[in-house]
């Protein structure tokens, strides 16, 4: 059983009639994802890429038995669409769009947690399970089936790592974009746990970034009994940091957030630290991962 997407996953695309929604629906269908329907309020009755469009998620679920949804909804409408999707009983939601107001993200995160829905994003490339399907925008050609799990805060860096591995015929069990926003719907440890519990994953790569506490919390998770080997690359070593105003963040977070701190935390927890992405190949060779 792969994580999040398997043979029973029936996907709807919300915002399917938009420019990006329709193009990405084609890519998802071509990647053999079971896209069973789309939703755009007011456009019910039409089809996109052969997929029937509905006015509401409720109707789409009734008509297609959908159990997962990927969002290409304009940022301003995501809050409403998210509530709608949760209320319609969907249990996996991938929120691709960027620029969603953080206050909205906080609200939908709380709603998802309350209702037991697993959600990814916002600003996520989504999830791709090689050979099974994908929900989101990951370009299928860069991925290949295998037993390495990738979790990335950055969309483009998830492609980079998958691409580097695939070129050397090291396949992936699943690639998950955590989402690049300050607040995300599922945190790094939540996703790490899925891989730890997954019978088809042998090792995990965490692609992190400067800022926030996700990697520090992931390090705690690893230290608390993660059994699979983990490698981690943290981007932002030479990135300029914005000038800071206000103290509340620093008070709450202490020294968390620097690349150095994250690498130390992960290293201490037992992860292999990659200084540059290409070093991932040394790691796979060293650990005999293939």
């Amino acid at each position: 059983m792969s994580i999040l997407i398997d043979d029973n996953t029936r996907v709807i695309v919300q915002g399917i009639t938009g420019k990006i929604g329709s193009v990405q629906t084609r890519w998802m269908v071509e990647y053999d994802t079971k896209v069973v329907g789309g939703v755009t309020p007011g456009k019910g009755g039409s089809t996109v890429e052969g997929v029937p469009v509905f006015d509401s998620v409720e109707e789409a679920v009734e008509q297609t038995g959908a159990n997962a949804s990927v969002f290409f909804v304009p940022a301003a409408f995501v809050l409403d669409a998210f509530y709608e999707t949760v209320d319609a009983g969907i249990k996996l939601i991938v929120v691709v769009p960027e620029h969603i107001p953080v206050h909205d993200v906080m609200k939908i995160r709380a709603y998802a947690l309350e209702k037991g829905v697993f959600a990814l994003g916002p600003t996520t490339p989504g999830i791709l399970v090689p050979g099974k399907g994908k929900m989101g925008i990951m370009p299928g050609s860069l991925f290949s089936p295998g037993r390495v799990g990738i979790i990335s805060r950055s969309g483009t860096l998830s492609y980079e790592f998958a691409g580097i591995l695939s070129e050397k015929n090291i396949g992936q069990s699943a690639v998950v974009g955590m989402g690049a926003d300050p607040v995300v719907l599922s945190n790094l440890p939540d996703i790490l746990k899925l891989f730890e519990d997954d019978g088809e994953t042998d090792a995990v790569i965490i692609v992190g970034e400067v800022g926030g506490m996700q990697e520090e919390k992931a390090a705690e998770f690893i230290a608390n009994g993660m059994t699979k080997p983990v490698a981690s690359y943290i981007a932002g070593r030479f990135s300029p940091q914005g000038k800071r105003m206000g103290h509340a963040g620093a008070i709450i977070r202490g020294s968390a957030g620097t690349v150095k701190g994250k690498c130390e935390a992960l290293g201490t927890a037992g992860a292999t630290i990659l200084k540059s992405p290409i070093e991932v190949l040394d790691w796979t060779a060293d650990k005999d991962i293939h």
Partner: protein, 399 residues
């Protein structure tokens, strides 16, 4: 002061939020019923004198710059007389604070301070909740207090759907040992600050210090400073007049980046970078940074079009002494073949001779490579960015 990255910056410290000047924040506070000092804003010493005349001496002059640690950097001065004000104002208005030019001064009444408190509300990224932080020892050393006297500081994580109510404020403040009138006054200001935080879609809203006046609690509290950072993504739906974000970007190249809709950070080096994602851009910088110096960080996000990349080229080329450009893009949500057309059109129209290396993978990659090659761009078709940077070294040599 060593500055750890802020909470909401994430890697995207690069995508800055909308920061409000202290005087703008105080105006907002006033509208929400938070007590603030009498004050005025001056962009000349004449205006400063007029305002001080109305308020009455002594007054405090505060440089209006969008950076923390201003007080310790000499941006806050007290003037006892018009002569003193003239001198201080002239010197402040011609100065830079932490590298930022001072265009405006706030002139405000000097509060009779008994005690300094602290309150701040920010977004906690990991829990995804607003977090309210309060302390009975506010002022410039608040972070020091957090480390050395954790009992003087406490915090509360709010349910974002529920909000923050006075009773929660009072429960929080009781933990600091507050009682009686100060408890209810402080709670009242805190709830109003939360309203500012919520209605302005803030990432941070802070009052430091919140001053207890010497005239006693009857005289009450006074917010003598403001920090507000607003979520960029929510600017369009805030139902109050907001300043224009682009206007307050000092660096002209960064301002132009904002205008065309990309994240552009101006840096000191000579290698231009265009990437289609922040993570990829940072990784590219990390790899380059081992041996070369980036001239900029430019990240397009998911909105690539032919036109956009044409403009990105234009923007990157505005930097003088550029030695080369590296383009690192993925075709996921982005139609990179269209982007490549924009790059090549710019190259051809402007007869660009500079070496340009492009790594482009994903949807439409072959088409993209073809377009780039037609424009004389050095195309990398392997996945590791290290390969592209190696090619860059070959082309420009090390520094």
């Amino acid at each position: 002061m060593e500055v750890p990255p802020g909470p909401r910056k994430n890697a995207r410290g690069l995508k800055s939020p909308m920061r409000l000047y202290e005087y703008e924040g105080l105006d907002i506070f006033e509208g929400f019923g938070i007590p603030v000092p009498r004050r005025g804003v001056a962009d000349s010493t004449e205006d400063a004198l007029l305002i001080a005349g109305e308020i009455g001496y002594p007054v405090v002059l505060k440089a209006q710059v969008l950076v923390g640690g201003r007080g310790l950097a000499g941006g806050v001065k007290t003037a006892e007389t018009p002569e003193e004000l003239e001198e201080l104002s002239a010197s402040l208005l011609n100065s830079e604070i932490k590298g930022l030019p001072v265009h405006k001064l706030m002139v405000c009444e000097k509060a009779d301070i008994l005690n300094e408190l602290y309150m701040g509300i920010t977004v906690d990224g990991f829990s995804g909740k607003p977090v309210v932080v309060v302390s009975t020892e506010g002022g410039v050393n608040i972070e020091e207090t957090a480390r050395t006297s954790p009992d003087k500081i406490t915090s509360f994580y709010c349910d974002p759907a529920f909000g923050f109510f006075p009773y929660q404020a009072r429960m929080l403040l009781r933990r600091l040992g507050l009682s009686e009138r100060l408890l209810t006054l402080f709670a009242d200001v805190l709830v109003r600050l939360y309203r500012v935080f919520a209605q302005f879609e803030a990432l941070i809203a802070e009052i430091n210090p919140l001053v207890v006046l010497k005239t006693g609690y009857q005289g009450g509290l006074l917010a003598v400073d403001s920090v507000i950072e607003v979520d960029n993504s929510a600017l369009s739906r805030i139902k109050r007049p907001m300043p224009e974000l682009t206007e307050r970007i000092e660096n002209p190249l960064e301002r132009k980046g904002r205008e065309i809709g990309v994240t552009y950070v101006d840096l000191g080096g000579d290698i231009g970078i265009i990437s289609s994602g922040a993570g990829l851009g940072m990784a590219t910088m990390d790899i380059i940074g081992e041996r070369l110096k980036p001239a900029n960080f430019l990240e397009t996000g998911g909105g690539i079009t032919e036109e956009l990349l044409y403009k990105c080229m234009e923007l990157v080329m505005m930097k003088s002494d550029l030695r080369a450009i590296i383009i690192n893009i993925y075709g996921g949500i982005n139609p990179i073949h269209e982007g490549a057309r924009g790059v090549v059109r710019y190259i051809k129209e402007h007869k660009v001779k500079l070496p340009i290396v492009a790594k482009a993978l994903g949807n439409h990659q072959e088409e993209t490579w073809e377009i780039f090659r037609d424009g004389g761009v050095h195309v990398i078709t392997e996945a590791p960015t290290e390969k592209a940077v190696e090619r860059l070294y070959e082309l420009v040599g090390e520094e």
